[in-house]
């Protein structure tokens, strides 16, 4: 024990000597090296995950999309066969793409506008406003199968709450999930219910808009309408932009709702709920045509990428980044 202690003490003294002796320049350099090393150590979990769970599989699936891979036996190179089949031989591919575009085209603008409107209302100084914020946010935390089941009940054509409420106003509600014309609107109605999630983002940014601007506008006698369109809206454009980019990407992911709310994920009446991902899912995990499914996945990736790039490009024109606002 003693010897160990003594040798440790000696080592320490030696180490101290070593540190004290070399020129300052060397010390700084080695410190910087250590800093650099610990930097990479800290981000290494993400870096490993990125290579092993994102980049690797992504590139592998690009290769697979040119083969007839089915997980178990074959993996032959088939050239662009999968892509040709997708574009020219699979009618359901186009149906699913159309259904998805329809859903995105309506749900994204509606939820964005709804969230902004709600945030403006919830940004007023009114007694009990915190309770209102909680209520409107609640549906955003409720998700998963339970909520889909609930909406199947709410949208039930004869005894559901939605059609019952419509009947009070003399409106005969549609058959929702049973009428191919109304299946997608049904899902959009369901999405609108949880608009409070986006609202919270806007609320936070509305509270960041300086009061001075509104006071200045008040002195000029601006109407509430003008103030909204000329101060509020421009000031929150960065959040609108963020919201649109992320909800576009999210919109293309629609799958679970359709899978749970239709019989065995079969796409609902007349395939009206056969979304892109549902079709891809069936190809990948029902018939195990991984080559074809990978081709579909890559095509989806390209669509989303192009839309995001367009977004980023046009974003510069209308997104207003306030002065002195650091990233």
């Amino acid at each position: 024990m003693e010897t160990a202690y003594e040798s440790a003490k000696k080592n320490k003294q030696a180490a101290q000597k070593e540190v004290a002796e070399p020129v300052k320049k060397y010390r700084i350099k080695s410190l910087r090296k250590r800093e650099e090393l610990s930097g990479f150590l800290f981000i290494s979990p993400w870096l490993i995950g990125f290579v092993a769970l994102t980049l690797g599989p992504l590139l592998f699936s690009l290769y697979v999309s040119f083969t007839n891979y089915n997980i178990t036996s074959k993996m032959d190179f088939v050239g662009t066969q999968n892509y040709q089949n997708m574009f020219f031989n699979d009618g359901l591919f186009w149906t699913s793409l159309w259904n998805t575009l329809y859903f995105v085209a309506f749900s994204v603008p509606l939820t964005t506008a709804g969230a902004i409107l709600l945030a403006v209302l919830l940004n007023q100084k009114i007694p009990g406003i915190k309770v209102f914020r909680t209520i409107y946010y609640l549906p955003a935390v409720l998700s998963g199968v339970a909520v889909y089941l609930l909406w199947m009940q709410l949208l039930s054509p004869s005894t559901g709450l939605v059609n019952t409420a419509l009947s009070w106003f003399g409106v005969r509600g549609p058959a929702w999930l049973f009428d191919p014309e109304w299946t997608k609107p049904a899902l959009i109605v369901m999405k609108m219910w949880s608009v409070g999630g986006g609202m919270l983002l806007y609320l936070a940014s509305l509270q960041g808009v300086s009061k001075a601007m509104y006071e200045a506008a008040d002195i000029d006698g601006a109407s509430a309408f003008r103030k909204f369109f000329h101060i509020t809206l421009p000031m929150i454009t960065p959040v609108i932009f963020f919201d649109i980019v992320t909800s576009l990407i999210g919109g293309f992911q629609i799958f679970q709702e359709a899978y749970v709310m239709t019989e065995n994920g079969d796409g609902g009446p007349v395939n009206s709920l056969l979304f892109y991902n549902l079709h891809m899912w069936n190809k990948a995990f029902e018939v195990f045509d991984m080559g074809y499914a990978s081709a579909m996945a890559w095509f989806l990736f390209v669509i989303v990428l192009v839309l995001t790039v367009i977004n980023l490009k046009f974003g510069k024109r209308w997104v207003h980044y306030g002065g002195g606002d650091e990233k």
């Binding site: 650099e36 610990s38 930097g39 800290f42 979990p45 993400w46 870096l47 995950g49 990125f50 769970l53 599989p57 992504l58 699936s61 697979v64 997980i71 709600l118 209302l121 919830l122 007023q124 009114i126 209102f132 909680t134 209520i135 409107y136 946010y137 935390v141 409720l142 998700s143 998963g144 199968v145 339970a146 089941l149 609930l150 909406w151 009940q153 709410l154 004869s158 005894t159 709450l161 019952t164 219910w193 983002l201 936070a204 509270q207 959040v239 963020f242 990407i249 679970q256 749970v260 891809m280 990948a284 995990f285 499914a293 996945a297 989806l300 990736f301 989303v304 990428l305 995001t308 990233k327």
Partner: protein, 290 residues
């Protein structure tokens, strides 16, 4: 406020107009609240009705008699207890992974200087733009090669390799720690690992709790992961279990709704107890802090 040519009528005054506006907004918010809350209330009320009462038209708004036994029967019709424990196990593992690993990585991006940091961080952010579904098929191929199908590994292990959104969120928080504080700790002989665990983590407790709650919700409600990787009914999670239950009891809505209420209950409880942390999460995303 200064010179007034005639004394205004009460309905012309600013304060009256402002009060009317507030009343209008209040009315709107109350009506909206009813619309927002009615589905939740409908779920609870349906869960307490008899099948006969559910089928009746027009529907009743309160159950004639409260059928509490629906809950017991629904829970016993399927192995829900087993599924709940499975879900809890996965969720706890995922939350631990997310909290520890993402804060570790985020600290590296926020407080350590190294070459290529900005480029790598941009890469982190850009992975958020890849649709999850695009990743799903290649990941499935990977995990099936590793013989991880029908185990919890594909659901848990990825949580230990960082999540772009959480890294971003925590980095924004860690950046608010003054550099002087880190330097002082270094002079006292602490290394980055100690600074992260003993200084940054306790200091950023609210952010860490936010990540814990968001990842709890994510794991608890995850449907796609278990649907893809779990085939054995004994290993099911609540989400998949509920989906199977839907097939077994068909349109027996009293059972479906009572099971749904029970599955949602933990999420609702956490929401009410930790509300402010949800708000923290979205404040950071819009860059109000940091």
């Amino acid at each position: 406020m200064s010179t007034q040519e005639h004394s205004p009528k009460f309905y012309e005054t600013m304060s009256f107009k402002r009060r009317m506006k507030k009343m209008f907004v209040l009315l709107l918010l109350i009506l909206g609240s009813i619309v927002i809350l009615s589905p939740v209330w409908w779920m609870i009320s349906t869960s307490l009705k008899t099948p006969g009462e559910i089928a009746q038209y027009p529907p009743s708004f309160l159950p004639d008699s409260f059928q509490w036994s629906n809950y017991v029967k629904a829970w016993q019709t399927a192995p829900f207890t087993r599924w709940a424990l499975n879900t809890l196990f996965i969720t706890v593992c995922v939350v631990i992974g997310n909290v520890v690993v993402n804060s570790f990585v985020a600290y590296g991006f926020a407080k350590i200087r190294f070459r290529g940091k900005n480029l790598l961080f941009t890469l982190v952010l850009s992975t958020m733009l890849i649709p999850g579904f695009v990743m799903m098929i290649p990941q499935y191929m990977l995990f099936s090669k590793l013989h991880w199908i029908n185990t919890y590994l594909p659901l848990i292990v990825p949580a230990f390799f960082g999540n772009a959104f959480f890294i971003f969120l925590l980095r924004q928080f860690f950046k608010t720690i003054p550099d002087e504080m880190i330097e002082a700790a270094k002079i006292d002989g602490a290394n980055h690992f100690q600074i992260w665990w003993k200084l940054a983590m306790p200091l950023m407790k609210p952010a860490v709790i936010t990540v814990a709650i968001l990842s709890f919700n994510g794991a608890w409600n995850d449907f796609l992961g278990p649907l893809l990787y779990i085939n054995d009914e004994k290993l099911y999670t609540l989400q998949i279990g509920l989906q199977t239950f839907k097939g077994t009891v068909q349109t027996q809505w009293h059972y479906l709704m009572s099971a749904s209420v029970l599955v949602l209950l933990p999420v609702i409880l956490i929401f009410f107890f930790f509300q402010r942390y949800f708000i923290e999460g979205s404040n950071i995303t819009t860059g109000t802090k940091g």
